[in-house]
Every structure is written in C-alpha cells, then in structure tokens.
Symmetry: C2
Subunit: 229 residues, 2 copies
C-alpha cells in the first residue's frame, strides 16, 4: 500500500492525460493528495515537483497546482562530441585542421561575444570525417584573452572541441540551429553541390562571465538531429 513518488507521478499523469483534470484546472493540494495516497507530503511533493519541471503542471504558492493551459513542453537534445557521434555508429573518425590564424576579433565576433576592440582571437577551420567522407565543418574562434594557452596548442591531431572540453569542462552556452545554403567554398570542402541545404549549429560558450569561444558547425546534407520528449 506504500505509494512511491514514481507511482504517484504516473498516476497523476495518467489522470491528467485521461481528462480527469483538464488543462487549466486545479489539482488537490499536497496534504489532501498525501492523505488519499496514504503517504507523506514530501512524497507527493516530489511527484508534483517533477511534473512541474516537465512542464505538465504549474505550481504557485497559495494558488495551488494547475494543469498547464498550453503544453509548454520542451525537447531535450544531447549535444555529442563529433568523435563520439561517429564512432558510436561504428564508423571511422578522422580529423583534419585546414587553416589556423591569429588575429584581432572581427566586428561580428566582437558583437557576438561582447569582446573589446582589438581582442586577440585564434581562428581554426577544421573538417571531421566519417569513414573518410567529410561529415562536419568546424569554424572555431577562441578568445585568447580568456584562454591564452590556446595559442600554444597546435590542434594538428586533437580538435579544438575536444581540447576545450578538457580545458574548460563546464561552462554556459547559447546554441542555435538553422538551415543555410552551401556556398561554393563550403560545398567544395563538404563534397556537396553549391546551394545544397545544410544543417548549421552555432554555439557561444562562456565561463565565469567571460566569452571563451564561438563555433559554427556545418553538417553534410541530409543530417538530422532528433529527440524524444
């Protein structure tokens, strides 16, 4: 007869999706639910807190717990390392550095990363191969003021992505996805036709309030990113 928080959560979710509490309606309070499930209030609290984190219900002190009107649901995507993504499929991974240069940050990058004028940055262009076919282009910019060690790194063998992960393990990031047409230079490097639709992700990374790096990734035509939610 002991109800676990998982059981309570599943039961509540079943009753919500079954229509017992329609969107916008009020659920009983924690004390009443605890009594009817025959458990402690903390157990009900955990079940309802998780439903709230998942966007199913909305909780307010004094106002109680309501089923959300518009299902503000979110999808979660894993952001894998390219190497892991490719090797995880049983394919061979290869990495190549195409160009490397050090310069002052161009204006568009200064705006993105909130850098001062003349900020020194390292620019890297890399290709990641899957079974010897170009899979992903990496256009990487590293803020040398925040990460001066990067200037000494050669990046011939290890890609900047993996190096950064080791060096600055846990940081904040902003990411965006878009579709772009392949320009002739990109098409040549990816082995596709100019104008092909490519999946692009851009990511800015910050650590302790300072911009670390910006990267633009272009995937081979046909790439998909998927998730359950």
């Amino acid at each position: 007869m002991t109800a676990t928080y998982r059981e309570i959560k599943a039961d509540l979710l079943g009753q919500i999706s079954g229509g017992r509490w329609p969107p916008g309606s009020l659920l009983p309070n924690e004390n009443d639910l605890a009594q009817s499930y025959g458990c402690a209030r903390a157990t009900v609290n955990r079940a309802m807190r998780e439903l709230a984190e998942e966007g199913i219900v909305e909780r307010k002190r004094k106002a109680g717990t309501r089923v959300r009107m518009s299902p503000l649901r979110e999808a979660r995507f894993e952001i894998p390392l390219v190497r892991a993504e490719i090797e995880g499929r049983g394919a061979a991974y290869r990495y190549a550095l195409v160009r490397r240069s050090q310069m002052s940050a161009p204006p568009w990058l200064r705006a993105r990363l909130d850098l001062p004028p003349e900020a020194p940055v390292l620019h890297l262009e890399c290709v990641h191969f899957c079974d010897d076919l170009p899979y992903q282009l990496e256009d990487r910019w590293i803020n040398l003021t925040a990460l001066p060690q990067a200037a000494k790194q050669c990046f011939d063998i290890q890609g900047p992505n993996e190096w950064l992960v080791q060096t600055v393990p846990y940081s904040d990031a902003q990411i965006s996805f878009a579709a772009v047409g392949a320009d002739p230079d990109v098409a040549l490097q990816l082995g596709c036709a100019a104008g092909d639709a490519l999946f692009q992700t851009e990511r800015s990374t910050w650590w302790q309030g300072r911009a670390i790096t910006f990267v633009r990734l272009l995937f081979q035509p046909g790439y998909r990113m998927s998730a359950r939610y």
Copy 2:
C-alpha cells in the same frame, strides 16, 4: 550556517569548474558532505541529484559520485505553438487551410506511425502567417482510427495543432530537425525561391501506445531555433 541545497549545488559546481575535482574524479559521499556542510544528508542528496540530472556528475550506488568524463550535456528547446510564437513577438497571426483530404495512409506514413494497411487518415495542408507573410507550412496527417472526431472537425478557423493540443493534451512525441531545399511548390507557398534552404521539423505523436499524428513543418528562410544550456 544552514546551507540550502541551492548553495551546496552552486558550491559543488564552482569547485568542479574551478578544477578541484577534475573530470573522472570521485566526490566525497553524501554523509561526509552533509557533515562538512553542516546539514542533513537529504539536502546534499538533492543538490547532487540535480547535478546528476544536469549531466555534470554521474552517480552509482556503492561506486559513489564522479565528475563526468565527457560532458554529456543536453540543450533544451521549448516547442511553442506557432500562434504563441508569433503573437509573442507582437506580430499579427493568421491561419489558412489550403487543402484537406481523407484517404488511406500512404506507405511511408504507415511505416512511420506503424499503421495497418488501409488505415484511414486525414491529410491537412495549412499555412501560418506572420503579419500577412507566410511563416510556416504545416503538412499534417491524423490517424482517424485513433481520433475519429477529427473527421468531423472543419479546421477552417482553428488549426489542427491547436485542436490536437486541446483534444489530446499530453502525449509522447518524437521530433527531428533537418535542413531541406525548397521544392517549387513549397517555394510558391512560402514566397521564397526554389532551392532555398529551409528549416524543417518533423514530429510523430503517440498516446497510450497508439499513433495519433505526424506533422512536417517548414519555416521561412532564415528561421533559427535557439536555446541556452
């Protein structure tokens, strides 16, 4: 000196990103941490559980809590209703139904949704406008065996998305993003050039183990989807 779980979580995260516990290393166990923070074990447990949910650490019974080697991090994207997305920007939203037909599910759809042969489906093609410019094309397929009510719905005024949200509020879904080139028909409807790179999302939705609907959304050129993580 009462430490809250938020403070403990922030402190642990700070020490991890500061390098005190490098990737792969073992954190103290819950009892020791509780003692050093001067709080109950449940408080430490919640802090570390949330760090685990966020992909920062990895926990195993008996083995303890370790900082993750590869930062298996995930991005969260909100999946808004088109109407909310457009009106949220202060633009005018308009919806139009372009085509509506009832038929047996074509083979590719049967495969996607695991439908039996001859399964009746409703096919809807819609356009969502933002300030009278085409913003999103919706190519919607509804399984009439699971949702016979849909056959009686006219969908002239209310789009299928909003109707479905009201009718089947909480369901499982699989979603994927890709970049595709606009074919001539799509280009005409979106008011762009044929071949333009378009952001596409596809979603299959299930409820209680049965396929409900499949939808393919095409966005106007230049659309971006973004998130923090």
